[in-house]
Each structure stands twice: as C-alpha cells, then as structure tokens.
Symmetry: C2
C-alpha cells in the first residue's frame, strides 16, 4: 500500500539520498561523499550504493528514483549536459543507472537540475503548497532558480530557463565565472557577500567583522554580524537584497508569479535580505504584478535537495489532480 520515492541530491561534495513518502516525509536518509576529479563510473557506483542502502531499509515498493543535479540537465533524456563542479559533460546518467539496475528502471528514473527539483518540492511539500506560479531562488555558492508555471516545472526551449544568477545588472562590474561581468551572482551570492565584506575591511571600514581573519570571512559571518546589528554587514546585505530585488522585479513583470521563495544558505539572513528584495520589487515592478508576488523564505531547508528530487518522481508518476 505504502510506497516510497528515492530522492538523490547529487552535489559537488556529497551524494545525499532519502526515502520519501508521498506526503513528502522522509523515512530514511543516506549520505556519501563525492571526491574532486572522481571519474563518472566511480560517482555512479556511489549513487548506486546510496540507492541500494535506501532500498534495503524498506520492504515496500519504490515508485521511482529522482535525481537533482548541480547542472544543466536534459530532463527528458536523463542526461547531465554540463556540471562544472563534477567536471561532467553529456553524461547519460539515466541510461548508465538503468544498465546497472535493470532496464525496468529506465522509465522510473527522473533527472532535473537541483533548483528545478527544489521548486517542485516547495510546491508539493514546502512553502509553495497550493501555489501554481512560483519561483524558487537559491542564494548560496551561486544564485540559481527553478520555476513552476501553471502548476508545472518549466524548462524552456533548451533546458536553460530560470537562470537568474547570470542576469547582467552591472555590465562594467566584477567578472563572473560565466565570463560575463556584473551577473547577479557576482553581486548577491555567498562568495560575493564575503568578498564585499573582505574588501570593505581591507579599506579600513569599521565593523565587528574586523575581529576575524579577513581572508576567511564567509557570507555566514556577514549574515551573523548583520543580525547583531553591525552597520557594515547590514549595508552589504541590503545591497545584495537590492540587487536580487532588481532582478526579481524583472522576473515579476515577465512571469507574474504569485510566490517567490528564497532558499539557500544566505537566506538565513531572513528579513535583512527579504526586506530589500520586497522593496526593490515594489519600486520597480508594475504595481499589480508586485502586489501579486509574495516573497517569503523557502520551507524545506536542509532537506530541500532530497525532498525536491523525490518530488520529481511523485509529480511525474503520481501527480495530484
């Protein structure tokens, strides 16, 4: 009667997996490391070990396996197109898994980029329940997005939709990993926040952060200092929130969402980040569109990856109507 989906969150440093029930609750979790420069076959083995361990924890059926990838992914073909942190290009992960697990699994493995999985997870089990038009934004090492339009994940013409982290806000700004300058990611990601704090301290600006080793200051340090009322840290979070809000105001006038969910490590800043995001949207988007778009924290927190990956399975094989 009961069955589970397996959700796998394939990251640059670990493989997290979970048995997830239809209502989004986690029955068991597993975690295995991924190593730098590891060959594909070795990561594949690790994924299969993770799957086997999870399967061994239950006697009920597994409806399918969902995998969230840190990468551009061909969700229809089950191919990881390009994952820079894994150094993967065009890895036919679904086929490779089915070769090992048996052909009957091929149709039961769903792949998508992790932010798409998280967007779906939030809609089914998180802060987006009952929403049909939502954007999930993660602010961490990078800035990424996943979007649900009319109740369905939207991938775009070539699986490139919701790539909000590379919207160019400052064409003469800092060079981004993508090669362009002034992408949102260079202004509001965790590393960008840390870099701005380090630069300000090197300029001699006053801040409680100066008690720390400048080189090792992280976005988390900045968020904590901002929460304690540190003026410099608050200013940096305000600027990051404004940049996010400017980009999201464009999103709001283009896609008219009812909900924008902010997740990822930096969202620990809470209203210090959400306040300026909301204000920038209010100032920049059309009033009716701005009013329609609630900006709140994502709901699934640390488990967003595995629950989102399992959501791919539930949504695909057993959609609610």
């Amino acid at each position: 009667m009961d069955s589970y989906a397996i959700g796998i969150d394939l990251g640059g440093t670990k493989i997290a997996g979970a048995l997830v029930a239809r209502d989004g609750t986690i029955a068991f979790k597993e975690s295995l490391p991924t190593l730098a420069h590891e060959p594909v076959a070795s990561v594949l083995d690790r994924i299969l070990v993770c799957v086997e361990r999870l399967r061994s924890r239950t006697s009920t059926s597994i409806i399918g396996i969902g995998i969230g990838t840190p990468a551009m992914t061909d969700s229809r073909q089950g191919i990881v197109i390009h994952a820079s942190n894994l150094k993967w290009t065009n890895v036919r992960l679904r086929d490779l898994m089915a070769e090992q697990m048996g052909a009957e699994w091929k149709e039961r493995i769903c792949l998508d980029k992790d932010t798409n999985a998280a967007a779906l997870g939030e809609m089914l089990y998180g802060a987006g329940r009952n929403a049909r038009h939502l954007l999930y934004v993660t602010i961490g090492t990078g800035v990424g997005g996943g979007m649900v339009l009319d109740g369905r994940l939207y991938h775009g013409a070539s699986e490139g939709a919701s790539d909000i982290g590379h919207m160019v806000l400052e064409p003469l700004g800092v060079v981004c990993g993508c090669g362009k300058r002034g992408c949102l990611e260079t202004l509001a990601s965790g590393p960008a926040i840390a870099r701005q704090a380090q630069a300000a301290l090197r300029r001699g600006e006053a801040s409680g952060l100066s008690a720390l080793n400048v080189e090792s200051i992280t976005a988390q340090d900045v968020v904590e200092a901002a929460k304690r009322g540190d003026i410099l840290a608050r200013g940096i979070m305000l600027a990051a929130g404004e940049c996010l809000g400017i980009a999201l105001a464009y999103y709001v006038d283009i896609n008219n969402p009812e909900l924008i969910l902010i997740g990822g490590g930096v969202c620990a800043a809470g209203d210090l980040l959400l306040g300026p995001i909301r204000e920038a949207i209010r100032q920049r988007a059309l009033p009716a569109n701005a009013r329609a778009a609630k900006v709140v924290l994502a709901g699934l927190g640390q488990d967003s990856g595995v629950i989102g990956a399992a959501a791919l399975v539930w949504h695909h094989f057993a959609p609610k109507t």
Copy 2:
C-alpha cells in the same frame, strides 16, 4: 464543412474585424471607428454591428468570436480589467455581448489582451509556426509582449505576465505613463524614438530630419531617415535596439525562448533595430540561451490583430494536436 472564427481587434481608434478560416486566411474584413470618451454601451453596439456584418458575409457556421483588447484582461472571465485608452475598468465584455447575442454565445467568446492574441496568431499562422516557446514583442505607441510557453499562452498568476514594456532600465530616467522612471517603453517605443530625435534636433545636432517640423517628427520619420543612412537617426535606432536587447536578454535567461518575434510599427526599421537587439542578447544572456533564441520580424503585419484574435478561438475550440 468549412467554418470561420470571427476575430475582433478592439483598439483605441477603431474596431477591426475579420472572418478567419482555420488556416489563418482572411475571408472578409470590417472596420468601424471608436471615438474618444465613448460610453461602453456605444462601443459594444459597434462591436455587435461589426460581428453582424461579418456573419452576414457567410452562410457557414461561426465557431466563435475572439477579441483582442488593448488592455489588461481577465481571459478566463472575459473581463476587460483596465483599458486606459478606452477608459474602461472591469467591463464584463463577454457577458455584455452574450446578453445581446444570446446565451449560447457566452461559451464561444474568447477575450485576451491584444499582444497575447498576436503571440498565439504568430504561433499558429505567422513567423512562429512550429515554435513552442516564443515571445511576441510589439513596438509602437507602447512596448508590449505576449508569450507562448510549451505551446500555450501564458498569463501568469494575475494576467500580468509578459509586461516587458515596464521593465525599469534607467531608474533615474524619463517618467513613464505608469508612474515609474526609465521603463523600456520610455526608451524604445515610437513616441520615445520621436522624442529623442526632437530633443537632438533642438540641441542642434546635424540630421536630414532638420528639414522637417521638429514638433511633428514621428518614429516613422526617424526609421525612414535611418534607412537612408542618416547618422543621428541610426544612432537613435541603435540605442532603442540596445535597450530592447538588454530587456530581452533578461527574458532569454529567465524563459529560454526559441524565438522572439518583433512586431509593431517601429519594426519597419528591420535590421537597424534587430541587429542591436541580437547583439545585446549575445553580449548579455548566457551563451546557450542566447544561441537558442532567434530574433526575427513578426510575420502577420497589419493583420496581426484580427488574425490573432481569431487564433484565440481556433486554439481554444479546435486545437491542433
């Protein structure tokens, strides 16, 4: 066997109507004026006259009536929410028409904003045939958009999607009709192009346009001068194209379209406008997304309004599979 849809393009200065076959060909056209400050009942009468004239031209059945409105429209309820040029607010146009025409018509009348109708018309009958992910952009009195995602018109959470004309590109720029500053519409619409030419001539810049009465210079004059090689006019078209391209680059990274169709009066500039749009997208959007997005002229020209309105009917009542 044969049947027609009636397409009505409800504009600020006229009501255009046509009998449109399933393949998008026009059998007959009608046109009636709308007057400034005309009461709703009077415009409604004119629409009904237009419909009756068209019905009288054929003995075959009318599958439905599609209406493109110059306005924010509740496409599900058939309500014109706000049309500033008609001074309409919350006009239940579908109900009003069905009261006059008979209740059996109520389910056969489709309303949508004109740019959405045009986007659908382009997908079914114009430059977007076979595309499933396209944005239609009209550049005329204003700058507007309509979008097709996964083969379906997308309206957003509150019918506010694809409002690209009010994306703020210059927050300290010229005040827009919407109350904000520096919206795309203040930089690249027909009136914006005319205003820039007038200002340059008043500053004494050299141009063949100085032979004209400065006050009466239109965007069409600027487009024609640019085509003749006038340096000032070319510079103005280049700047307008760049602004459009910057906004469309955001669109490209958000929605990853395969096709962007440029329509409206200003598109007569052709490659003088499309060139800078393409270049700005190439510079600003992610390479894979930029490559996926072809930018071309819309295909339906002057008849875009009535064919698009009829497309609402064909798409709704007799979708191709």
